[in-house]
Symmetry: D2
Subunit: 118 residues, 4 copies
């Protein structure tokens, strides 16, 4: 169980890149590209699996490690992208959920049309 927060991890990533003089490579555009590449690597684990195999992916140690490794890469590039551009990812997500609660009303809620479309 980690006790590191998302801010702690962002600081470690920034210090890691600075110590290796990688900042010139970490432009917003390059980090957005790297994020997409890593998301693709996560998807690659699942591309030929049946839904049943996909659900059971964490019960196989090698695949479970690979999933955690790719999740880490996606999150690492997302946090570095946000750090470079001054975006607060938690605030961005909180605001988006607020908007989606208005955009997709719960079917059956009092006073809602409840179309349930997506």
């Amino acid at each position: 169980m980690t006790t590191e927060s998302i801010e702690d991890l962002t600081r470690r990533l920034t210090a890691f890149a600075a110590a290796r003089s990688w900042q010139p490579f970490h432009t917003p555009k390059n980090l957005a590209a790297a994020l997409t590449v890593e998301a693709g690597e996560l998807l690659e684990i699942f591309q030929w699996l049946t839904p049943e195999q996909a659900v059971a992916v964490m019960s196989e140690p090698d695949r479970a490690h690979r999933v955690r490794d790719e999740v880490a890469d996606v999150l690492a590039y997302l946090l570095q992208f946000c750090a470079v551009l001054g975006v607060d990812p938690l605030a961005a997500l909180s605001a988006k959920i607020d908007r989606n609660e208005l955009r997709f009303p719960v079917p059956g809620d009092v006073g809602e049309a409840g179309e349930g479309g997506r």
Copy 2:
């Protein structure tokens, strides 16, 4: 400034999907696909920009909103993917940074070969 933690946001996302009966769609494979799609939408903002334009992207309100919106979507699908599979994304990232500190030693550190390769 949000006071919501990543755990709070994950709970909101899970409740949001449950209230709309979207869980059957939220398989690990579908969420990994959706994560890749949203990462692509973030990259789309940058695909024709010069490095200078990309760095200045947050100074243009419409683009800044779009960036925050796509960051939120990427994070939303990453957290939902992790929730469905029981992965702790912060622990995964912490462990990955630990491994990378061994894999990419800082050039010039005492006792390190310091090849600096990537």
Copy 3:
């Protein structure tokens, strides 16, 4: 039924970009990013579909149009990427199939171990 070859289409794409002075944007890196973005848009059509719905996607006119449109975008950026770098995509694929025939022998072929792994 088109009578245009892949070379004809590549020439049309190149002339189209030149007439609009888009060549400065069509760097190999930008075109590789745009290709990934368009592949994501094709995947988006399928991300929440069941396998049955996915197979039937061309029987619904709006979705069928969207599929053809995204296929066109993927192929357009692939051909422009190849034109900019001097890659012959058909020769590259032909050589790759040759290599894969050695790498993945058909199970049961005389003289083959036939492990069938992927």
Copy 4:
């Protein structure tokens, strides 16, 4: 110089998959996911390169081979996706260029507003 057409290559790919009993995996959704994954692998070659390095990528034999290999993978999954759904990729691209010639008029053409937006 290959003398194989895009139809020849599609037939080889279909026969290759059939001989290995891979058709059950080659659903439209899986092939769209695989296409996105391979596009990401092509982008990965370029993600940290400067524009100058990216333009010179084919002058380095190892990278040139990797580029051709990923181009082949992208094209292979695109053709198999089209074969499974009955889409003619060349006709789709031809129709798309026709539409784009109307949507993006050449600036300065007689009778055109020529906004040049994208």
